[in-house]
């Protein structure tokens, strides 16, 4: 196992050395390429107020996301609890209703 790891590391080292030799190429592209990029950028259009506002509103939405999540959890808990309370109230109403035994007798 140790030998296998050693061999693996040696292989990676050699491949890395070869890779680094290729990395030395840092020359940039020609002016034609630069013109093409600028043409694409101009086609997109200038960063205007709309663009900035869109980005800002996007950032604001993400900042508000945790608060919205907490609010959703609180509302979900409230709905569950209200539901339970209604069920409890209905059950206690039914139990305390003096007419209920007669209604059940009539039914059966």
């Amino acid at each position: 196992m140790k030998t296998s790891n050693k061999l693996r590391d040696r292989l990676i080292d050699r491949l890395s050395a070869a890779y680094q030799s290729r990395s030395a190429d840092t020359k940039s592209a020609g002016s034609m390429w630069q013109q093409n990029v600028m043409r694409s950028v101009r086609q997109i259009g200038p960063h205007g107020r709309d663009n900035r506002d869109r980005v800002r509103s996007g950032q604001l939405a993400w900042r508000l996301a945790p608060a919205a999540l907490v609010l959703m959890i609180i509302m979900a808990v409230m709905i569950i609890r209200i539901d339970d309370t209604i069920k409890y109230q209905m059950a206690s109403l039914a139990v305390s209703d003096p007419l209920l035994p007669y209604v059940i007798d009539e039914a059966f």
Binding site: L15, D25, K27, W33, V37, R42, H47, G48
Partner: protein, 201 residues
């Protein structure tokens, strides 16, 4: 052209671009194109470097309003470059367009020399660099985009897990696990290929 001087700071130029001056972006383009190309050429084939670098600058322009300036423009641009290269390989991987040049006896010889336990001292690394690069390109082509990029950043370029995580926008834990698995996968792929090319090519 209001920006004749190339000495304006990045933040001033960025502010001008964000204010609506498209031409100011050309200074950033001139200033950083060599840097972007140096990243892109490491990760994608030379024939695709122009197109990927083009995409990097378009993404940078589009995302400029969201640039916070915390880590510096150069670092921010490096992240965009790496992620654009990752997207390039993701698209290639999905469409199964990965270039697969076949390996020959010379490549097998290189592998055997490298892997043999009693490594040959007179093994000329420089002479065999081309073979090594061809083997590497072939093996990287067998990996997924995520494995490929993680392995290249961590093991081939020597970035720390944290730095690679920042560049790719992933967690350190994710990078650590993926880098380790990718290294094992690469070794396995090469060993399997070495056995295969032992027979008829």
């Amino acid at each position: 052209m209001p920006y004749k001087s190339d000495e304006s700071s990045d933040s001033t130029i960025i502010q001008n671009v964000i204010s609506g001056d498209v031409n100011a972006f050309e200074i950033l383009l001139e200033r950083y194109q060599s840097y972007v190309f140096s990243i892109v050429r490491k990760h994608v084939p030379t024939s695709h470097a122009d197109e990927v670098a083009h995409e990097v600058f378009i993404r940078a322009y589009q995302g400029l309003s969201g640039f916070s300036g915390k880590s510096g423009f150069k670092q921010w641009l490096a992240g965009i470059s790496v992620r654009t290269c990752y997207d390039f390989w993701r698209k290639k991987y999905r469409s199964k367009e990965v270039p697969m040049s076949s390996l020959t006896n010379a490549h097998r010889e290189w592998l055997e020399n490298t892997i043999s336990t009693d490594a040959v001292s007179n093994f000329d690394e420089k002479k065999r660099r081309t073979e090594a690069l061809e083997i590497l390109d072939w093996a990287l082509g067998k990996l997924s985009a995520a494995d490929r990029m993680t392995l290249a950043l961590v093991y081939l370029e020597g970035y720390s897990h944290k730095e690679a995580g920042v560049l790719l926008g992933w967690s350190v834990a994710n990078i650590k696990i993926r880098a380790h698995r990718a290294k094992k996968k690469l070794y396995k792929i090469l060993m399997a290929k070495k056995e295969k090319i032992r027979g008829p090519l």
